[in-house]
């Protein structure tokens, strides 16, 4: 039991540090993604806030991918749904903040249940393709600009008239929005953690490791998978709401493309699937590095580099694709797996890669030992 407590303490310390960051006006050269080299500059804080948003998305996605073993490529459907439903309610319909949040939550839940239930009718690779198709359908839909609601290709800028002043205006309220993103990440993390540690979470791992065995135990995998799909989607929907508040506009090519879906898969794999802290680290790190690369490739000294170096470096997707391939080959457990292996080596004990919850431990949890007289 020591390791999770230690992880929890480290996590709590990091959250406190992150929460204090807006007060730290230290100048740090070169490694910050914002244009000004000061830790608490507005540009820096807003990029870090986006990092937290994708950290949360990756965390939620890992429930489905890592713990349930379902390769869904529909995660941006739910992310974009959060962005767009919230935007449409506030901007097109001029609803209040509370009503907009309520309709976004309701729509997010309904969408997750319907798309999840239809997609989970097939298994394996077909599930992957179907979720991808649904996400693409949503992309087409918002491109279409039905009834002038979404603004089509150009997007829909968020109207801040019905927002409390503390949440409106990404530039003037960077600090409060930064804390909002951090708070969302902490809440999402807590919800995911409780879910994974619950008996439902253990059933999911058992289903992942051996579906037939779980079925023999009398568990119907469908309901559990749907629960995982729904939770994962709701985290993405909530992240979409926070993202919209931070960015202030909804554009299909930024929030609903397959490229973003694949980026989220890459985040989780880089951090380490089905490991506490792995996915969230991957999400934060991915967005941080991408922003940094975009900034570096925009600098004037960069244009003087030879094309062989400049072209690949100016395309963060290329670097991430290449790093991702290297990770699949050489670091399959992601960063979290690598850390665990290093720790095991230092202590001198041998490393057991992620001892999964097996059906035996599951039986022990779900079915209490029978008393003597019930036995045949």
């Amino acid at each position: 039991m020591r390791a999770p407590r230690l992880g929890l303490a480290v996590g709590a310390a990091l959250v406190v540090l992150a929460a204090l960051l807006p007060y730290v006006g230290v100048s740090v050269p070169a490694v910050l993604p914002g244009t000004v080299d000061v830790l608490n500059s507005a540009g820096n804080l807003s990029i870090l806030a986006i990092c937290f948003v994708f950290g949360a998305v990756a965390l939620g996605y890992d429930v489905l991918f890592g713990y349930t073993g379902l390769l869904s490529l529909g995660v941006v459907l739910h992310f974009a749904a959060g962005v767009y439903v919230f935007d449409i309610a506030l901007t097109d319909w001029h609803w209040s903040l509370g009503a907009s949040l309520a309709v976004t939550a309701g729509a997010g839940l309904g969408l997750a249940l319907v798309v999840g239930a239809v997609s989970l009718r097939v298994t394996g690779i077909a599930f992957t393709m179907v979720t991808l198709a649904f996400a693409q359908a949503f992309y087409f839909l918002i491109q279409d600009n039905p009834h002038g609601l979404t603004g089509g290709q150009d997007g829909l800028a968020l109207s801040s008239t019905r927002l409390p002043s503390i949440l409106s205006g990404a530039v003037s309220n960077t600090r409060s929005l930064y804390w909002l993103a951090l708070a969302f990440l902490v809440v999402a993390g807590a919800v995911v953690w409780v879910f994974i540690e619950s008996s439902v979470g253990h059933v999911l791992v058992a289903v992942r490791d051996n579906e037939a065995r779980a079925e023999v135990l009398g568990l119907r995998p469908f309901g559990f998978k749907l629960a995982a799909y729904t939770l994962s989607s709701l985290v993405a929907t909530g992240a979409g709401v926070v993202y919209l508040l931070l960015i202030g506009t909804a554009v299909p090519d930024a929030v609903a493309t397959t490229t973003l879906t694949l980026a989220i898969v890459v985040m989780v794999m880089l951090g380490g699937a089905a490991s506490r802290g792995g996915a969230v680290t991957g999400g934060i790190l991915y967005w941080y590095l991408e922003s940094l690369l975009v900034k570096v490739s925009g600098q004037s000294s960069f244009a003087r580099l030879p094309a062989v170096v400049r072209v690949p470096l100016s395309q963060p997707q290329f670097l991430f694709g290449a790093i991702f391939i290297l990770f699949v080959f050489f670091v399959p457990g992601g960063l979290a797996g690598a850390v665990a292996r290093l720790r095991a080596r230092r202590v001198g004990g041998h490393f057991e890669p992620g001892a999964p919850v097996t059906a035996q431990t599951l039986v022990a949890r779900l079915i209490p030992p029978r008393s003597e007289k019930e036995a045949p």
Partner: protein
């Protein structure tokens, strides 16, 4: 009525391109259990290979011969890309289907980004013969010539593939492998060679699909993202047709192509429905899954 016939013709040619993209995916999945995301990259690379060859030819008005050479370059380019992918990235990961899928995702991301960095998003134009831009009168119906080319390409490949899979030794091994891979390797057949072969065939067809798509449907403009756009529809076709079935893919490709074209024309005129053609294919997919989760001609599991 004439509109309907023109639409049917255009839908069939779109279906032909979908078939070229989907049949390779379906074979690769059927034999190796890999959902090959790099297929989109094969299509894109095929189109760029055709373009690259055309730029090295003397710059006269492009003739039919120019186009024939472009087709050849696309087929060879797609096949080479697939061969490299299989040998370098897939083979070391035999027995780990999830890692294989992830590697193809990484490859697709990386190569598409590299092309974007090198060529920009939408700046190159593929030289095609002027004849492609004209149309043939069949009675009162106007049939664009380019559609003929796609249709002929699709039908020739379908017939060739059917012949290959039914009449040649390699083809029979592949079909047997799709049915039951363990049994085939237990009989002493080198399944690894069949894996490579199936990738090369799929890559060649994907290269052709990418080139034809550019020549017929994008107004000759090349984009690094076109393969990934096509890939989504290829996935839809593969699932509707049934994973692993070539004939299923062919039928589904025609159905999806026609549906998309009809929906685009009859529904797309209304404001806010310009993407109804694309949407309708996803709705069809959901419907098929609801009624018949294994697809039209897929094996029962």
């Amino acid at each position: 009525m004439t509109t309907f016939l023109s639409l049917t013709f255009a839908g069939l040619s779109l279906g032909a391109v979908y078939f070229l993209a989907a049949s390779g995916l379906s074979l690769i999945y059927g034999l190796m259990d890999i959902l090959n995301f790099a297929h989109g990259m094969f299509m894109t690379l095929g189109a760029y290979a055709g373009w690259d060859l055309a730029t090295h030819l003397p710059s006269n008005t492009p003739s039919v011969l120019t186009f024939a050479l472009e087709v050849l370059a696309a087929v060879v380019g797609g096949a080479l890309a697939a061969l490299l992918t299989e040998v370098v990235f897939i083979r070391p990961l035999y027995g780990k289907p999830l890692s294989q899928v992830l590697v193809t995702i990484g490859l697709d991301l990386a190569v598409v980004a590299l092309l974007l960095g090198g060529f920009g998003a939408n700046s190159l134009s593929l030289p095609v013969p002027l004849w492609f831009l004209e149309a043939t009168h069949a009675g009162s119906v106007l049939l664009p010539n380019a559609d003929f080319v796609a249709l002929v390409g699709g039908v020739v490949v379908l017939l060739g593939l059917e012949w290959f899979l039914r009449r040649t030794r390699f083809g029979i091994v592949i079909r047997a492998g799709v049915e039951n891979r363990e049994m085939v390797s237990a009989l002493g057949v080198d399944v690894g060679r069949a894996f490579t072969l199936v990738f090369v065939i799929g890559g060649a067809m994907a290269g052709l699909a990418g080139l034809l798509y550019t020549a017929v449907f994008t107004g000759d403009l090349l984009s690094p993202l076109q393969g990934d756009g096509l890939l989504i529809f290829a996935f839809i076709v593969v699932v509707i047709g049934g994973l692993g079935s070539i004939r299923g893919s062919a039928i589904a490709a025609v159905v999806v192509g026609l549906l998309q074209d009809y929906a685009n024309y009859y529904g797309g005129q209304h404001p806010g429905f310009s993407e109804i053609g694309n949407l309708s294919t996803v709705l069809l997919l959901a419907l098929v899954l609801e009624i018949r989760p294994r697809g039209l001609l897929g094996r029962a599991t």
